[in-house]
Subunit: 189 residues, 2 copies
């Protein structure tokens, strides 16, 4: 196998897509985010990377709260829209039914899974603010629950793939059992 | 749609899986990581969340360098193995061909895409160290390149889905064009 050096700026992994909600200038605003990850189990924390010029970031800094909403593939057009248009220019909340749970953070009713987070830390890198939030509430559509857990297969999330071209992809067919198939390679029997 | 509150500790999004490499105690070590994200474009930076007790974290702290290797679905057993067994107990480097590129960071030849990173910041959350690295080199298998970019579809990455059960999934069939389909919803014509 010959390895070839490529431009390290190319992002080449499948990125799950969520919609981040925040109150900005007194109004609910939403933006698509593909740069995020869980970072802590207990208490549960997630991190999102938001460009320093993004309108949503202003609301997160001001209110110290944000939401993470997981869209199903039926919302791919809406999700793409809130990723390409700034809340500075258009009122993006008009395309969703907004709800607030127990708190003051705008969430999206049409998204089957909603996390409400309080900001616990902000880390700066050159172009982004990394907002670390603790999940204080989680909501799921009743019909997308299986045994007290959200059924991710029923939610039908999708991923952003940037190479070879910018497209969204859903999950395919089950490949293997996690935390199990690898036991075969252990030297401990 | 009725929203139901669930335990906020449940992680419910599809998590792409990579294998992180580091030199620990003078030997190459690898671990599967599903908590990571890109965080900056220029210079390109990625963040990985590693449990504080993980063996790999010791090597990253000591050497201030790590690699991120993207496995294809043909490596699902190997990837699962390096996620469930600690390098403290078993020599996990024995199952891969290790290469070093221009630097001193162990990378996995069988993974079609390899990033070499230098540690630029470490952020602590209660249970994890968040290692932020700048990508200093990127390598791709020659036959997985299309127009100077890694062809992610040819690489065949996979995602960890934890709910309703722990399974790995590849990508499905193309859903929509990114940064394009959402334009239909813009109020600016």
């Amino acid at each position: 196998m010959t390895k070839v050096e490529i431009n390290p700026r190319i992002t080449a992994y499948p990125m799950p897509v969520v919609i981040v909600g925040a109150t900005v200038d007194g109004k609910p605003n939403f933006m698509a985010v593909a740069w995020f990850t869980k970072v802590n189990s207990n208490p549960p924390m997630m991190l999102i990377a938001v460009g320093k010029k993004q309108y949503t970031g202003e609301g997160i800094k001001a209110n110290k709260t944000f939401s993470i909403n997981l869209p199903g593939k039926n919302l791919v057009v809406e999700t793409d829209y809130v990723g390409i248009v700034s809340g500075r220019k258009e009122d993006k909340s008009r395309i969703f039914d907004v709800f607030y749970g127990d708190g003051t953070t705008p969430m999206i009713k049409e998204c089957p899974l909603n996390y409400e987070l309080k900001l616990v830390d902000t880390v700066e890198v050159p172009g982004s603010n990394l907002f670390i939030g603790e999940i204080i509430n989680a909501y799921v559509d009743q019909e997308k629950i299986q045994g007290h857990q959200p059924d991710l297969l029923a939610i039908e999330p999708f991923m952003l793939v940037e190479t070879p071209a910018n497209h969204y992809y859903p999950l395919g067919s089950q490949l293997a059992d996690a935390f199990k198939v690898g036991k075969a390679l252990s030297t401990e029997k």
